[in-house]
């Protein structure tokens, strides 16, 4: 978990609570996406303190959340941004993992309710959800498309969205839901590694990569840096009406295309092994019309080059963040 504090010089009217305080943030889940959001805020001058969250230990987690609650109360009236980018459960998560994640989310919501009743600053809740989980098997997801989860992971994500949407807070808070498509970016130690970093790593080291799917499987890939920039931008903006956004590139991409880009970057042909799993080979694509107007994703080839440069050619750059 990250405790984030806005720089004093940035306590503009837009960032402050009614009593003129600063802005703080609590980020739950410093993984593939969360860590990049933290890095984006650090670049904007925020300060950060990281703690290890005991996700699998209920009583300790409650203590952890109480500590966070006390910290917010000690800071005084200020704007509070809470981000839920946690969840180690991936597409193949089982029921136990999913129930555990939902229980943790409920604990967090309870904490936010308590904070809302005991403080007076603005509260913004950012929920990182999954467009892939909600719209699995749907192609050309457009304005009229309806979430239709095909597996427990997707059902969980929809459930979390509904919990947030329907929760009665003691006073109005701002809710923002970000539905992410297939995310790739610098991998986090101990965390899951996405397709692109795996291909880059294995191609460089001459190892084979197992593709669970087909080369022709269509997905929509988004770069973590774009997501982090977009969400970090939302942190310094005045609180806005509740929003639910699909953060996708709007460009369907085959695994074959990614493999070709990786080949161009690494100058080696990635060795591939295929695992026959038809349930993971469904296409999921999004129409550009569903993307937020202020969302500017980087094109795939550029971001793969950027990822490769940051991770392999200039490890110091990645570590510095």
């Amino acid at each position: 978990m990250l405790y984030l504090t806005a720089p004093a010089r940035r306590t503009e009217a837009s960032e402050t609570g009614p009593h003129g305080g600063g802005a703080v943030g609590l980020l739950f889940g410093a993984g593939l996406v969360g860590r990049r959001i933290g890095a984006a805020l650090l670049r904007r001058g925020w300060t950060c303190r990281e703690t290890t969250t005991p996700w699998t230990d209920g009583p300790r987690l409650l203590d952890h959340l109480r500590q966070a609650e006390r910290w917010v109360q000690q800071v005084g009236p200020c704007r509070l941004d809470v981000v839920w980018s946690a969840g180690r459960a991936g597409f193949a998560a089982d029921e136990e993992q999913i129930l555990g994640e939902e229980a943790n989310f409920r604990r967090l919501l309870d904490m936010v309710v308590r904070v809302a009743s005991s403080t007076s600053g603005q509260i913004v809740f950012h929920l990182i959800s999954s467009a892939g989980g909600l719209f699995e098997g749907q192609r050309h997801v457009a304005a009229g498309s309806c979430p239709c989860p095909q597996r427990p992971y997707g059902v969980l994500k929809l459930r979390l969205e509904e919990l947030l949407a329907n929760l009665d807070f003691p006073r109005p808070i701002s809710r923002r839901v970000y539905r992410l498509t297939s995310v790739y970016g610098p991998s986090v130690r101990g965390g899951r590694r996405g397709l692109v970093p795996t291909l880059l790593h294995n191609a460089r080291e001459g190892r084979a990569t197992t593709i669970v799917g087909q080369l022709t499987t269509l997905r929509d890939y988004v770069f973590t840096e774009d997501i982090a920039r977009h969400i970090a931008d939302a942190w310094v903006l005045p609180t806005q009406p509740d929003r639910c956004e699909i953060l996708a590139s709007g460009k369907p991409t085959t695994i074959h295309e990614i493999v070709h880009h990786v080949h161009k970057v690494v100058h080696r042909t990635p060795a591939l092994v295929f695992a026959a799993r038809r349930d993971n080979a469904t296409d999921i694509t999004f129409a550009p019309s569903v993307l937020p107007p202020d969302w500017a994703p980087t094109d795939l080839e550029t971001s793969i080059f950027q990822l490769h440069r940051n991770v392999f050619d200039d490890p110091g750059l990645a570590a510095s963040e």
């Binding site: 098997g137 192609r139 997801v141 979430p147 059902v155 509740d242």
Partner: protein
Amino acid sequence: MESHDDRASFESSRPAGRASGAVDERRYDLGVSQTTDSSPEPAVPGRSKVLVSTVTPVYRGARTLDELVSRIDALRRRWSEPAWPFELVESIFVDDASVDESSDVLERLEAEYDFVRVVTLSRNFGQHPATSAGILHSSGDWVLTLDEDLQHRPEDIELLLERATIHGSDVLYAQPAGIVHRSWYRDRASRGYKRLLSLSTGDPNVRLFNSFRAVRGSIARAAAAVVGHDTFLDIAIGWFTQRVGARRLDLLDSREGGYTFRRLLSHARRAMISSQTKWLRLGAAVGIGALSLSVLLLVWIMVQKVLAPASIEVRGWTSLFLTTAFFGGLVACLVGVSLEYLRTLVLGAHGKPNFFVVDRSIDVGPRRYFADHPLDVSGEADAVSDGASKAD
């Protein structure tokens, strides 16, 4: 783990499930979740019909784009009939640094029609790169590429799709049924040019190449992904499939200028570079021939020298000739081998795959439909397709 079973148990223990009814009860709009259970839309859209995308590179289309989009929209509406096996989900227009008011027209059309998507290139890259860019933004099971100038009638798309699915083709080109360029001379020159390219590249499908084509989506995207700056798109498509067909259609080039001699040369150059250029092996064959001949002659002369030395009237020239033939042949042979290596490297750099897996099961539905409701009843079309089959 079988996810379907997991889902079933999860939903039975937790009533949340899809919870579409709950969507309407939300305190705020969750964005795209507008549809309720009463909607006639299928639970997973796109499963019941085969999806089709169109791709059109735009360079000078301000005058024709309105009509083109309007006719595609009419086609799209006609295809909404439940029994029709295809659905046109998107029309992608690639603005290849257009030189007229096409950009403004496209911007307006994108706002007017929800199926229109505009991809803007940073500079003029040419027709093939623009088509590749459009294909890479598509998601359809089939991708139809057609020109901006109405030379290719959108209404003919269904004829191409019918032919492709019935014959199990991965690529189906439109072939002109009559005069295309308003001039028999230019038509003949065009056909002769394609024949020449076919001969020089060793690719019999070259003569079928046409910018009005239906390509299986997975193959189109794979080819577009690997196609390089100097790669001929159709030749790259040929790296992924040999199931290439054609169908005669009425095509008319309404462009005033059309292709210049320079552009034809440029096309030929790219086709030669992209193809296997088997004629390069001719050098190696000539070298091996010269080398072998020189060795045979050497043996013959040695035998002659031993058995009948008096029969050799001119001395010195034979040795010179044999030496030249031997070393000339050796050099030509080594250059041929080097070119073979170079060809392998170049094709690898161009992205020619070792293998590619394709799923043609989506053709079953359309094939069944067209068996009961044939669109194409002309015998002439079959003649072209037969020719293409031989080319395979």
